[in-house]
Symmetry: C2
Subunit: 594 residues, 2 copies
Amino acid sequence: MAEYKVPLADMDFLLFEVFKADDIWQKLPKLAEQVDKDTAQAILQECAKIAEQEVAPIARQGDETGVRYDAGKVITAPGYKEAFNTYVEGGWPALGGDVDYGGMGMPKMLTAMHEEMLCSADISFALYPSLTAGAALSLAKHGSEALKEKYLTKMYSGQWAASMCLTEAHSGSDLGIIRTKAVANDDGSYDISGNKIFITGGEHDLTENIIHLVLAKLPDAPAGPRGISLFLVPKFKVNDDGSLAESNNVSCGSIEHKMGIHASATCVMNFDGAQGYLIGELNKGLACMFTMMNFERIGVGIQGLGAAVKSYQNALEYAKDRQQGRALTGAKSPKQTADSIMVHGDVRRMLLNMKALNEGSRALSTYISMQLDYATYAEGEEQAKGETLSALLTPIAKAFFTDLGFENTVTGQQVFGGHGYIREWGQEQLVRDARITQIYEGTNGIQAMDLLLRKVAGSKGAMFTTFYNEVVEFIESVEHQDSMQEFVKPLSDALEDLNDLTLELLSKAQDNIDELGVSANDYLHVFGYTAMAFVWAKMAQVVLASEQISEEFYQSKLHTARYFFKRLLPRRISLIALARSGADSVFDISDELF
Amino acid sequence: MAEYKVPLADMDFLLFEVFKADDIWQKLPKLAEQVDKDTAQAILQECAKIAEQEVAPIARQGDETGVRYDAGKVITAPGYKEAFNTYVEGGWPALGGDVDYGGMGMPKMLTAMHEEMLCSADISFALYPSLTAGAALSLAKHGSEALKEKYLTKMYSGQWAASMCLTEAHSGSDLGIIRTKAVANDDGSYDISGNKIFITGGEHDLTENIIHLVLAKLPDAPAGPRGISLFLVPKFKVNDDGSLAESNNVSCGSIEHKMGIHASATCVMNFDGAQGYLIGELNKGLACMFTMMNFERIGVGIQGLGAAVKSYQNALEYAKDRQQGRALTGAKSPKQTADSIMVHGDVRRMLLNMKALNEGSRALSTYISMQLDYATYAEGEEQAKGETLSALLTPIAKAFFTDLGFENTVTGQQVFGGHGYIREWGQEQLVRDARITQIYEGTNGIQAMDLLLRKVAGSKGAMFTTFYNEVVEFIESVEHQDSMQEFVKPLSDALEDLNDLTLELLSKAQDNIDELGVSANDYLHVFGYTAMAFVWAKMAQVVLASEQISEEFYQSKLHTARYFFKRLLPRRISLIALARSGADSVFDISDELF
């Protein structure tokens, strides 16, 4: 298996050539204080070392050993504790955190790349800090001063980890029907009782305490999602001086045996009158949770990308080494018994699919992260636009990147032939690990509904128009350039088709709302390929304008852009046909006839 | 998890209503002696019992336990020996065998359905009899009288199993470079020496002997594929009276740890001067092997279908039970806290994709099997057409059914949400098991090359024309029927587009043969969807002409046909665009730029 190498050159290209992150950061006062180009590059380089040298090497063994459950305790796989300690010593848990409580306040554009590296190295490992960062985000935004002083600081320092406790056995996608109860105590705290399942990092041996953010309902709360509150429930209670007190009636009942991410602890958590503290307002728990959702969902999208990047690197090394058969045009290496399989058009197709989709996903992820940074740190119109675009594109980041990520891990496995099916090569692990990203944090079907129903239709098309204008503006800025014609024309076609499709679906929905539910998945993918064409055209433009255009990196980028427009963007055509084919064939058949 | 139920009604519909198997059998003397409708129905019903009651129940445990290697021995998972014995006692190993040596001589149309049942129940189990049946086919066709008397009879009786030993570590897709050596002995036998990998059922404890069919080269053999011979190498030598003699210097060095099919033994086999017997002529080994390839490759396609059928049954049961959220059009079950997820358009879409693709694959598999039966049992023009169509469509059966099968297992897992990722539900096992079918017995990329280069281009389009005419004939026979218009028009469009694409690619290939290699995969899928539209239209026609049209089964079939034409056939549009996009974007980028 290839040794994982962080694609630092591509990250640098995206940040500083394509999206001019340094200019953006300078304009936004809160970011200008924390980060500039030199700092960012140093951070990425240091983080790359951790990912390549500390995390990547433990992934295979982690898959084989997995986490172990023993009488309420969860023992992580060999090497995880050491890698986690190194990660903490480097100060990485604070990377995106609030500076007022010890965070480093780095922009999402940077933390997203940090996440990608960790996930390429090992999704199982990455989940422990990732869940903690997500919980910290909610707490930082909605928690009281006291809670933040007491808990947030130690989450940033890496002393304590965190989990998000949402799902119950009967309540997954539909959180409105959770049963976990919260009863108010006289001292302002609450007694939390209930059972949660699928809790990532609910219990483990990496940290001395684990801070659970738990969704629960007060006895008199309104029914449905408007009666849900969010509570902070530590595994061990915490004294006023920050030292650990007694256990808090939180226990791990068992762990799940899963298809992949074996080294990530997926726990059944039992709360038996555990002491909890309200975060934000009563009955506003879902809103508090959704604060972190845009960040987290992009993060899950990036997990899919992470696995796919490693799969590509492995597959490329294998394809270059493996000698089998001859080129159709005649032997390329006649002195060897066979040519490298790189001579075969179908192998190149598989590798280029992976390359173009991975680099496109990274570019789009960086673009969305940039919008999230505008939403968080900018003001006025710029802030509003950032908020709109990041909210609109978040479900695409989650579902599109993970669908492509899974596809790419499967493709990378296929390049290996039979060896791709054998565990020791590590390639099949990536398929199993990536698969979960399409399911958790809201299934990709839910994401598609979020995009088309909540965002596009919910805003009566206004959110879509913001995106449309953004692309039109770009097209107008480059359409006079001869060298850009090969990209501008198909991008423009794709955008207009997406616009037409959007209008058609919104119109159909006035008669039958099911038209949206049936088309949502195809619509999301049409949107995804179009948005990806937008960032590929942006990248092509930067390359074409660059003085370094003849260098390998830039030539590779340009050829890959051409490949994307020729051989990936056309996927949208069938998807549009499907999205337009209507709800009748899906609903005219009664349940009994399935 | 749902209990697996064999789709007997659909099998009956295909055999006796759509393809009129009883008429065909009556016309072909060798088949007429063996089988009629009653016999066939009795066979399917008995086989269904084995699959449902004996094989399906051992699959989950087989996945958990897997096969165990202990000092050269391979111990199968709990229950496999018992299930295998029951299978043998039922006489099933003889099902498709040569009647002169104890076989039952059943047509492929029937054995294909038998294979589907076993694979839905458990691919791992199915592989043991399946490999034996494949080896028996080669032996029956090319072996000497003496070899057949001695070995074939015991393979049909189920006393002995068999394996196919092709792959070596450096030689997978490219068999021309194998190194296993055969040296002639004075007594007409050969000493076989070499190492084989990825040998399914190379060693196990199900039978007292295992008959290996081994590809090897004589010292003076021509280089490449034309120097390969096929040998029969038993694990234990066999005395003239049929009793077992001493061990034959064949040993299992280890077993692979794989992504799935854990209960199937995938062995490294070492031959150290083992005694072997030539099958067929010297240096014609590949041809002897390819005798069984059409049968086996359709069989692998059916493995993909098998897993997908079970995935559908599980997903449907789960979707009907699982209550989560509300229909977009308002609560459907207001007395429950939530509606069943069957109300969601996206869930219905996933289930109907599976249903339509599974039933379409089964129908196309039956059609191809029918052609194989014509090729085997008919004469003159009918035989020739059967041979052409079965050879042409075999790579489609293998690659298209397994790509769809894998897609459908992933879709079925997605319907389960988070539970689909948990091992105990069994749904993720189907994904892992199905994945191998896209890889072994010639990767799907190799199948695509076989279709477009060897078959379509190799026959200068003649083989394609045979298929084209077959569909045109059908279209002409139904195009006057009003009720068939919704199917005939899109089928006709699809066929003409496929024809145009074929001509375009063959023309381009005259300048650049790489155009075929690059387009092969997309071409195969365009062909697959078109061929599937052909059998779906045939099924629709039968339903529309049936007096039972108002019954549930027929209504379900008709709606599913409509769904296929509306929401699956349009996938071909993008695939055509990709297949037409040319080789330049794939080959203009040098290896260093990947």
